[in-house]
């Protein structure tokens, strides 16, 4: 057993650090320092910089424009980007639909879509959830009907179509067989958002950022060639997506960064005439969270070492989403606690709160989403109970 990274991996970490330091434009650097919300244009600016370096989709196979980076290097790249506070790239093309097209798409689909996902020329969003299909996703009602002329006609409403207002395409789960039972009548369809009958309505997150939206389909005509995988086989694709890149889901780098921030806030905040960081009670709270994070980090390392050897994710990887999301929230709960009265602040002009604390209240609100998106933590627990502990559900 060995906990250390190989010399090659250590060198790669240095390379990533040096690259970020030299390639990130000063405007992004300033925003990153404060963990500010990045506008869509800024995210795409960073996307293009990483694309030129060949690091935009390191988890894709090299033959479709990915990289030859191994699992551990991909983890290091992702962790360093998180540690630097770099703009998080839109995951919908790179992490979600891209890998599904690679796995299930036709040669034409691969040629049509993959290069533009890589280049950032086309931006994607996700059309899974509906107002009445959240955790019970398979109860979705958006229907795609064959018009007998080589098209589907799509009618329905998708919600949590995050960043659809900036996107060009949406990948959807749609009902193609109304008579079939739940999961078996669903197909996976790619839809151009410019199609007549498609409307996007953005709405604010509780963090005050314009991330969310809902998308309406009113008789949108979609060519059949945009179907990925078999007709009525969409559920299989949806499930396949869950297995991708699990070792990056823990967001360990983001939480390491957040705890450092908590310590800095506590170091400049006074309590009883001394820095809050010297208060044993508050310090113990940080220590608890850091120890939790260390446990998560070790579990993540175990998952990476397994994936590096090409193994299917083991039991340790199933806890990464649950624990990682909880810890992300707890980091910002503690940052808010450290800020004291200033934690009440809400998008004030510069000078009201320390620049580094400006976005803390927003993130404190928005990060409640981490335990909800990607399958709520309760759904994750149902899955672990059934698949790992083998407890029957009836």
């Amino acid at each position: 057993m060995d906990l250390s990274f190989s010399p090659e991996h250590l060198a790669f970490r240095e390379e990533v650090r040096a690259f970020i330091a030299s390639a990130m434009p000063p405007s992004l650097m300033t925003k990153a320092a404060a963990d500010s919300h990045f506008e869509h244009d800024e995210v795409m600016e960073w996307h293009k910089i990483l694309h030129r370096k060949g690091w935009v989709a390191p988890h894709w196979p090299a033959e479709v424009g990915g990289s030859s980076l191994d699992v551990t290097s991909r983890f290091i790249l992702s962790e360093e980007l998180e540690l630097a506070g770099a703009p998080a790239l839109s995951p919908f093309g790179l992490v979600m639909v891209g890998p599904l097209i690679i796995q299930f798409g036709t040669p034409e689909q691969k040629k049509r879509f993959l290069p533009r996902i890589l280049s950032g020329e086309e931006v994607w969003c996700q059309g899974y959830s509906e107002p009445n299909a959240g955790s019970d996703l398979a109860s979705l009602k958006t229907r795609a009907e064959d018009d007998g002329k080589g098209n589907f006609v799509v009618t329905g409403q998708k919600t949590w179509t995050t960043y659809a207002q900036y996107a060009d395409w949406i990948f959807c789960l749609v009902r193609t067989d109304a008579s079939a039972k739940k999961q078996s009548g669903i197909s996976f369809l790619l839809i151009d958002l410019k199609t007549p009958g498609v409307t996007v309505k953005p709405f604010l997150t509780s963090g005050g950022t314009p991330a969310f939206s809902e998308t309406f389909f009113e008789g949108a005509v979609v060519p059949k060639e945009n179907l990925v995988g078999p007709l009525n086989g969409g559920w299989t694709l949806a499930k396949a997506l869950l297995g991708h890149e699990r070792t990056l889901i823990a967001a360990v780098g983001a939480s390491i960064r957040a705890i450092r921030k908590v310590k800095r806030i506590a170091a400049r905040t006074q309590k009883d005439g001394r820095p809050l960081l010297e208060d044993p009670l508050f310090r113990a709270k940080i220590a608890r969270l850091e120890i939790k994070l260390r446990g998560l980090q070790m579990a993540n390392y175990r998952a990476i070492a397994g994936a590096q050897l090409g193994r299917a994710p083991g039991p340790e990887s199933s806890i990464l989403k649950i624990r990682g999301s909880e810890i992300q929230q707890q980091c910002y709960e503690l940052a808010m606690e450290a800020m004291g009265l200033a934690s009440m602040s809400w998008f004030n002009e510069p000078g009201v709160v320390h620049p580094e604390e400006q976005w803390v209240p927003s993130l404190f609100n928005y990060l409640r989403a981490t335990t909800i998106y990607g399958g709520t933590n309760e759904i994750q627990k149902n899955i672990i109970a059934k698949l790992i502990l083998g407890i029957p559900d009836r």
């Binding site: 906990l3 113990a284 608890r288 446990g295 175990r302 070492a305 109970a385």
Partner: protein, 384 residues
């Protein structure tokens, strides 16, 4: 990074698994509960012959030269059936002897224990010391060519049965000074040493040791006079890592027993495992168990780290996780078993008891949380 076991390690785990299954099921602990020693000399000798006691000790002192991971793998399996033989007391005392003493002393003092012919104990805790090994009131005063030791040591694991006892005593300085602490190897039959056997909750035994002017020679002092704290802290950290390893076996067994119960026990005409409230508790237990495994690996790898602060923070983090996970898993295990979990007859109660003892040994949650938070590493690399 590599977390795979070598072929030898896999074989070792299988051997220990087979031992606990065939020769040391939980019923053995029950049978030994009223025994004045509480463990079996025959079983201990067998463990010695198998090389389990010596596996992670250096070859230069008669060990097999393996890493602490090997010992941890053994301890984890021993935890699955609560094997009562004095592995943890012997390994911690041996760690102090090896770290503080000369090779000659270590080879001589360890030989009987490594063979399973004798056993050891580390007498560090005192009534006022709680978990601080630097809080030593026991005195070793110069007497002739040697020393005279006076004081009381409490809750000395295996102190009732050990042949050699490693005792910390102050040769200089005030109550909690970090300098002035010395270690001595004392024979259990030394005149002036009174051993009062005491029982512990987990069906083990310990000793309350009264040193009433016990005379020891210069050659029984381990290491430089007054400079033993580093070795003592190392031994306590190794004990904490050992507790994490044995505790993992305890935790996983309690989890397995509980999951099995959820799959078989019926109420309201269905298996109780079909209730989501109970499923989620079982998953919370599973999450803690996985984190305890991850942190046990960290502790076992870092116990030998040359960087003392690295070692201390890793061990403390792991021991805190053991406290969280151990408590959560064994408490919920009893809750999910219902009333039978609170009977002496049901095994789950024994796992709950052992878990408590492992959590208390070598520093409880608060002790390690405090040490972690006070480490210079805690405020390093925080950025401007």
């Amino acid at each position: 990074m590599d977390f795979d076991l070598s072929d030898e390690q896999k074989q070792l785990v299988e051997t220990v698994q087979s031992f606990v299954k065939k020769q040391s099921p939980l019923s053995r602990l029950r049978a030994l509960r009223e025994d004045p020693t509480g463990w079996s000399r025959d079983a201990w000798r067998q463990m010695g012959e198998l090389g389990w006691i010596s596996i992670s000790l250096p070859e230069s002192v008669g060990g097999l030269g393996g890493s602490f991971i090997d010992a941890a793998l053994i301890l984890e399996q021993l935890g699955t059936t609560l094997v009562p033989e004095p592995m943890i007391p012997t390994l911690t005392a041996a760690a102090a002897i090896v770290r503080a003493g000369t090779e000659e002393q270590a080879t001589r003092l360890l030989a009987p224990a490594l063979a399973g012919e004798g056993s050891l104990a580390l007498a560090a805790a005192e009534a006022q010391s709680r978990f601080d090994v630097a809080d030593v009131a026991t005195k070793a005063e110069r007497a002739g060519s040697g020393y005279r030791i006076t004081g009381e040591k409490v809750w000395v694991l295996n102190g009732h049965a050990a042949d050699t006892i490693v005792v910390s005593a102050r040769t200089a300085g005030g109550p909690r000074d970090r300098e002035g602490i010395s270690l001595f190897a004392v024979d259990r039959n030394a005149p002036g040493l009174e051993v009062q056997p005491v029982k512990t909750m987990d069906s083990h035994h310990a000793g309350l040791l009264r040193f009433k002017g016990v005379e020891v020679g210069e050659e029984q002092r381990l290491g430089a006079e007054g400079g033993a704290l580093a070795a003592l802290e190392y031994a306590a950290d190794l004990g904490a890592a050992a507790a994490c390893a044995e505790g993992l076996g305890v935790i996983n067994t309690a989890l397995q027993m509980t999951v099995e119960y959820l799959k078989t026990r019926e109420q309201f005409g269905v298996k109780i495992g079909s209730f989501q409230a109970l499923q989620h508790r079982a998953v919370d237990m599973f999450i803690e168990a996985e984190l305890c495994r991850s942190m046990m690996i960290l502790a076992a790898l870092k116990v030998a780290d040359a960087d003392e602060e690295e070692r201390k923070t890793a061990i403390s983090a792991a021991k805190v996780q053991l406290a969280w996970g151990g408590r959560q898993v064994t408490q919920q295990a009893i809750q999910l078993h219902g009333g039978v979990g609170v009977t002496d007859e049901h095994d789950i109660a024994l796992y709950f008891k052992r878990m408590h003892v492992l959590n208390a040994l070598f520093g409880d949650e608060d002790t390690h949380l405090t040490r972690y938070a006070r480490s210079p590493l805690f405020t390093a690399n925080v950025g401007a």
